[in-house]
């Protein structure tokens, strides 16, 4: 593990953000668009503006809530080997989720995601070694009212890894929990082994919508980890300055954390301030600029140093619509900076165009990038053996150290071996077909999809899920 983490904010600056967050709570407040939640805040001692849903959170409530926060979170999976402890030391990869469009692996064309894509995307994640948490592409075949529930089912069927998913429809919330319970084996089992993490967001500027509140309460009640993700757009829904949007995001984030911890003390929550930056010429909300990268890095510091929370940041993220040099550059700095600051999870592998498109080959490339980033996080080991004093000493006699016992002992430790990069003579590369990294990634994706089968679900579980889907379609879907 790296000894010194990347810090772009000083302790004083972190304190400034926190103090000003409390000042916004006091002077401005948060709009809580949920009557019951407003009442809960008031019962806890927060002030509510008359005739509105604006809540002012006093510092004592913040202090009390922060005492309850868990710095490590257990995320269970269908297969035990895929269980994760978030917030310890190592960094985990989670693929990009959310879009309804994919780039076709064969034709390269952009098209709507099908059921098959939803299944394949999960299956690909299941096979990749550095993508530990699976998030969905939302297939556009099923009815919009129950699309998210069907998507979760596709995920469970096609990967035995921990799943991260967000609602498309607030009415799907109880079905998410019930499906997770079927997988985990019951209500208590889900608490012990939460097989999903949910994701929900405040709305910038400074609003907590009802769906966020309901999700916090449901996750708290069922022990399901919840990723709180605030995404103000610097220059549009947040201040144009980076420090300003960091403050805005922190207000929205911290209010949600405090609410969750007061409602369900110790509920597993993940900090995810993922601020966007508006390109003021085009109006496009950027996700891959260097400014974004600075902001996620600062966000990691806030999570870790101010609130001692697990943190999930946009990792590989790019504004490029295709898998090109821009994607490579943006994905790299965007992963490396938050990782070196201490991020626990990097989110975004497989995304292109600011998270609007899923590209399977890009997922394979980004998976390898996360592998490299993970290696970077491991840093250098500095004990007597690793320092290799004797090897240094012996080098004057043997001239090189290729066959030295120290070399032989450490041949396979210490080195991450990426599989998609070219590390060979030009002639070899030409003999192998002069393939680009993208060519090799497409081949690897195809190979996995042709050969990899995830651990199947037990028959009774499968049956339970089918029944649940039927019930959801009958109750929620119209026409």
């Amino acid at each position: 593990m790296i000894d010194q983490k990347l810090r772009i904010l000083s302790s004083e600056q972190i304190q400034t953000i926190h103090e000003n967050t409390l000042r916004v709570f006091d002077e401005v407040g948060i709009e809580v668009m949920h009557e019951d939640a407003c009442q809960m805040w008031v019962d806890w001692g927060a002030k509510r503006d008359s005739k509105s849903q604006r809540i002012h959170i006093p510092p004592t409530l913040v202090e009390n809530a922060l005492k309850e926060v868990k710095s490590q979170i257990f995320c269970g999976a269908r297969e035990e080997k895929n269980d994760l402890l978030i917030g310890k030391e190592r960094i985990y990869g989670r693929n990009g989720g959310g879009p309804g469009q994919v780039t076709d692996l064969v034709s390269g064309e952009l098209r709507n995601a099908t059921k098959e894509d939803a299944a394949n995307y999960a299956r690909l994640v299941d096979a990749l070694e550095n993508t530990h948490i699976a998030a969905p592409v939302y297939e556009q075949d099923s009815k919009p009212e129950t699309r998210d529930i069907h998507t979760l089912a596709w995920m469970f069927k096609n990967t035995s890894k921990h799943i991260n998913i967000r609602l498309l429809n607030p009415s799907s919330l109880p079905y998410f929990v019930r499906m997770a319970e079927i997988i985990a084996g019951g209500k208590n089992e889900l608490k012990k082994k939460p097989v999903i993490t949910m994701l929900e967001s405040p709305i910038s500027p400074l609003k907590h919508p009802a769906v966020l509140i309901d999700t916090i309460l449901t996750c708290g009640n069922h022990g399901v980890p919840l990723e709180i993700c605030s995404m103000p757009i610097a220059g549009a829904t947040g201040p144009i300055t980076l420090a300003g949007s960091l403050l805005m995001s922190n207000v929205e984030m911290l209010a949600a954390v405090v609410f969750g911890q007061l409602a369900y003390p110790g509920m597993p929550m993940i900090f995810a301030p993922r601020i966007m930056v508006m390109d003021m010429a085009s109006g496009y909300a950027l996700t891959g600029s260097m400014e974004n990268s600075l902001l996620v890095t600062a966000g990691v510091q806030l999570a870790k140093e101010a609130y001692h929370m697990p943190v999930n940041m946009h990792g590989p993220y790019t504004d490029s619509p295709i898998s090109d040099c821009q994607a490579g550059i943006e994905n790299t700095y965007f992963s490396l900076m938050p990782a070196m600051a201490g991020a626990d999870i990097l989110t975004g592998a497989g995304h292109l165009q600011g998270g609007l498109v899923i590209n399977f080959a890009q997922l394979v490339i980004d998976d390898e990038l996360i592998g490299m980033i993970n290696r970077a996080r491991e840093g250098l080991i500095f004990d007597e053996e690793m320092l290799g004093f004797n090897a240094v000493k012996d080098s004057i006699e043997t001239d090189n150290l290729l066959m030295h016992p120290h070399t032989i002992r450490h041949l396979r430790s210490n080195r991450y071996r990426p599989k998609l990069v070219t590390r060979t003579a030009r002639s070899n590369w030409q003999n192998e077909g002069s393939k680009t990294m993208q060519d090799r990634a497409i081949e690897k994706a195809k190979f996995i999809l042709e050969n990899h089968q995830p651990k199947p679900l037990d028959e009774d579980i499968k049956k339970g899920i089918e029944e649940l889907l039927l019930e959801a379609d009958n109750k929620l879907a119209t026409g």
């Binding site: 010429a281 085009s282 496009y284 609007l356």
Partner: protein
Amino acid sequence: MEKTELITLQNTIYEGDMENSISITQHALDIGISAKTILNDGLIKGMDKVGVEFKIGELFLPEVLLAARSMKASMKILKPLLINSGFESIGKVALGTVEGDIHDIGKNLVGMMLEGSGFEVIDLGTNVPSDDFIDVIEKENCTVIGMSAMLTTTMMMMKETIFKIKEHVILNKVKVMIGGAPVTPDFATKIGAFYSPNASEAVDLAKKLIAF
């Protein structure tokens, strides 16, 4: 005298200086320039320059918004006079973010740019159900509808909304233009709509559609 006044007005609009846009518009009327001339040779010419420079990336979005706001403030003064003199806007456009979606920055920008180019804009707001679009077509006699969606998930609601509009009105009579981050020209064609990638091109598109 008249010419200097109009050029100054063009500049205050371009600079997004609302206060001076209002006072110069008023002053122009006071010295006898017609409302129609002030609109065409002052306000719209100022906004045209804004549109051109925005398109090439010289002007930034907030500067466009300030200019559009100045234009709107001046229009408030001119509108009663224009109506009295029988002047009509170049067309009526109803805009809304489709049901399920609350993102409206892009839609608002399109609205402002359209107003800046002489359109009358009816803003239906966000999370707009298809019935509201149908209402506005029938009651306001709108011939161009603009729909926006920011999410790949709500983008599909555009398709459904257009489908429902088709059930009520003859689509030939109404043209639908769409925009938003996930929207593509192909998608627009597939659902029977017209696409523009940004606000200034949305104005060009609306001008074409209104001329149909």
